[in-house]
């Protein structure tokens, strides 16, 4: 059974009119279907305005879909009709792009981690604290940081804290919206490794939103390429990368800079020739 399944998901945004402009509806997500199994990663790739974050918010039970069906562990969920139960809320957690914005600056790290337990479970205080400290160690931070504030941490450490918070409720699905794109390359590698370790340990399903194809190629099992609200290409990572079918996917691949030595050699030779010609 899939951890999460989307069937023809649609999201419309209503743009109110003014004196000179008629009201209109913008369809940000135009009927997308997918499913993710336990322990697997679905990467959703697209550029700004493609609707990838809108889709992420629907999957994370933050926004309501305007049409279609969302199933979490086989059960249909419609947050417009019914608030998600604590149990449902525990299953799906989200990590956001900017770890500077997603942590409350006035909340100590310990409280950041314990809050999900406080809101969604009846865990006693001592147990909450023990589990938060355990989780800190799991994401590679010492338990002593419990009483510190977010400003005392670097971007990579904050993203670790955000990931720890998302894991406090033992979710089965993690929605990661560009989790490493605000991080430096060396820190990015650490966080990607951490995500891979945690996925193995907890058998987590990931929905990984990204615009960076080299990261997607590294982390994904399946890939869904979005453009203007539509899924233009969908398939296993190896299929999509070996043989992209849709022109947009090919354009995206062609635009991604690569660090291939032969390509650099060819470019350098071309520049030398050009310089010799103009000199």
């Amino acid at each position: 059974m899939s951890v999460v399944e989307g069937r023809n998901l649609i999201r419309d945004y209503y743009v109110p009119g003014s004196l000179t402009r008629a009201a209109k509806t913008v369809r940000a997500v135009k009927g997308i279907s997918f499913s993710v199994e336990r322990g697997k990663t679905l990467a959703i790739v697209g550029e700004s305005g493609s609707g990838k974050s809108t889709l992420a918010r629907i999957i994370a039970l933050i926004d309501q879909a305007s049409g279609g069906e969302l199933l979490i562990e086989g059960k249909p969920v419609d947050i417009g009709k019914q608030r998600p139960t604590r149990e449902m809320r525990s299953k799906v957690q989200m990590v956001f792009q900017n770890p500077y914005g997603s942590l409350n600056p006035r909340q100590k790290i310990g409280d950041v981690l314990m809050e999900p337990l406080l809101l969604n479970t009846d865990t006693p205080a001592a147990e909450r604290r023990r589990r938060a400290e355990e989780m800190l160690v799991k994401v590679g931070l010492p338990a002593e940081v419990f009483n510190r504030y977010p400003h005392m941490f670097s971007g990579g450490q904050r993203q670790r804290i955000a990931i720890a918070r998302a894991l406090m409720l033992n979710p089965t699905l993690l929605v990661l919206d560009e989790p490493v794109s605000a991080l430096d390359l060396s820190v990015q590698a650490q966080v990607l490794n951490l995500l891979a370790d945690l996925q193995e340990e907890f058998n987590l399903a990931y929905v990984f939103i990204s615009h960076d194809l080299s990261v997607v190629r590294y982390i994904a099992d399946d890939v869904l390429v979005m453009n203007k609200g539509e899924a233009v290409e969908q398939g296993s990572r190896d299929e999509v990368f070996a043989d992209p079918k849709h022109p947009y996917t090919r354009e995206l691949f062609a635009a991604t800079p690569i660090t291939d030595v032969e390509a650099i050699r060819a470019r350098v030779a071309r520049r030398k020739a050009l310089r010799a010609a103009t000199a």
Binding site: E47, S48, G155, D184, L185, S186, V187, Q188, A189, Q190, L192, N193, A196, H211, D212, L213, S214, V215, R217, Y218, I219, E251, L252, A254, A255, T256, P257, I258, T259, D260, V261, A263, I264, R265, R267, V268, R271, L274, R275, T278
Partner: protein
């Protein structure tokens, strides 16, 4: 003898916690018609060293250097008036956030005409004609209409094109681009990099590209300088750097690229660096 020569540049910031050294003994040389990439992660001092050369750092910065010359003229000891005859004319700069770099209260046409009138000495009428030419040169669609547009009416990619048009308006001999494509989508990034390289080849200006993205370096640079924590780690021509990086930090950066992943975990920078570099 390069066009821009900087020897042993040190930049210190006076902070409440004492003096902080952002740039520590950096040399930068760029020749006529050359594309130099300065690569580093956040905190490597890559932007600060160029801002120092431009004289754009705030008063709390203390700048010392054995030499800082542009075309034989001493940038350290010149009067502000002399500096203004070079900065913004012979050396121009573009920045990471194109939308934030433009003034939201004026049309893009007004802003580029301002550059042309004050820095290129054109009349109002000549400036208007030249602005249109420049907009066409940098590939802005519907240039006449766009001259009357405000920055918020244009996309990020178009705003960066406007910035580039302003930067080349005075036929500079050196253009410094500080992370010019970091805020842009990959397909737009490719267009902007192609444009910068095309302009560089047409005009023969020197280009310093500050970036954290090894892919961008691979597709643009002639020569590369790698910085880490305010120090220069390595300098090499682009092919040598990617083919046979000599410094451990460069090797670490290259192997942290997900596209170079060989196992199921990425090597991290820390595992490469000797203690003396890590401090």
């Amino acid at each position: 003898m390069g066009l821009l020569n900087i020897r042993n540049l040190t930049v210190r910031f006076a902070t409440s916690a004492g003096s902080f050294t952002a740039v520590d003994g950096i040399d930068v040389t760029v020749d006529k018609g050359e594309v130099l990439a300065i690569v580093g992660e956040s905190g490597s001092g890559k932007s600060v060293s160029m801002l120092a050369a431009m004289g754009l750092l705030p008063d709390i910065a203390t700048i010392t250097a054995d030499e800082m010359t542009f075309d034989g003229k001493d940038l350290l000891r010149m009067t502000p008036r002399q500096r203004r005859s070079i900065i913004g004319r012979e050396i121009t700069m573009i920045f990471q956030e194109p939308i934030a770099s433009l003034n939201p209260s004026f049309t893009t046409g007004y802003q580029i005409e301002e550059v042309l009138r004050y820095n290129a000495g054109l009349s109002r009428r000549a400036a208007r004609a030249r602005a249109l030419e420049l907009f066409q040169q940098v590939g802005i669609p519907e240039p006449e209409e766009k001259l009357r547009s405000y920055p918020h009416q244009m996309s990020g990619g178009q705003c960066q094109r406007v910035m580039i048009a302003m930067a080349i308006a005075t036929n500079p001999r050196l253009l410094i681009a500080d992370e010019p494509t970091t805020a842009l989508d990959v397909t737009i990034q490719k267009q902007i990099l192609d444009l910068l390289m095309k302009l560089q080849e047409q005009t023969g200006m020197a280009l310093i590209l500050i970036t954290h993205d090894m892919g961008v370096v691979a597709e643009t640079a002639d020569r590369v300088q790698v910085q880490y924590k305010g120090k220069k780690m390595e300098e090499a021509d682009v092919l040598t750097l990617f083919e046979a990086p000599s410094h451990p930090y460069t090797r670490a950066l290259l192997s942290a690229l997900p596209e170079h992943a060989t196992g199921d975990r990425l090597p991290t920078v820390g595992s490469f660096l000797e203690p003396e570099v890590q401090q």
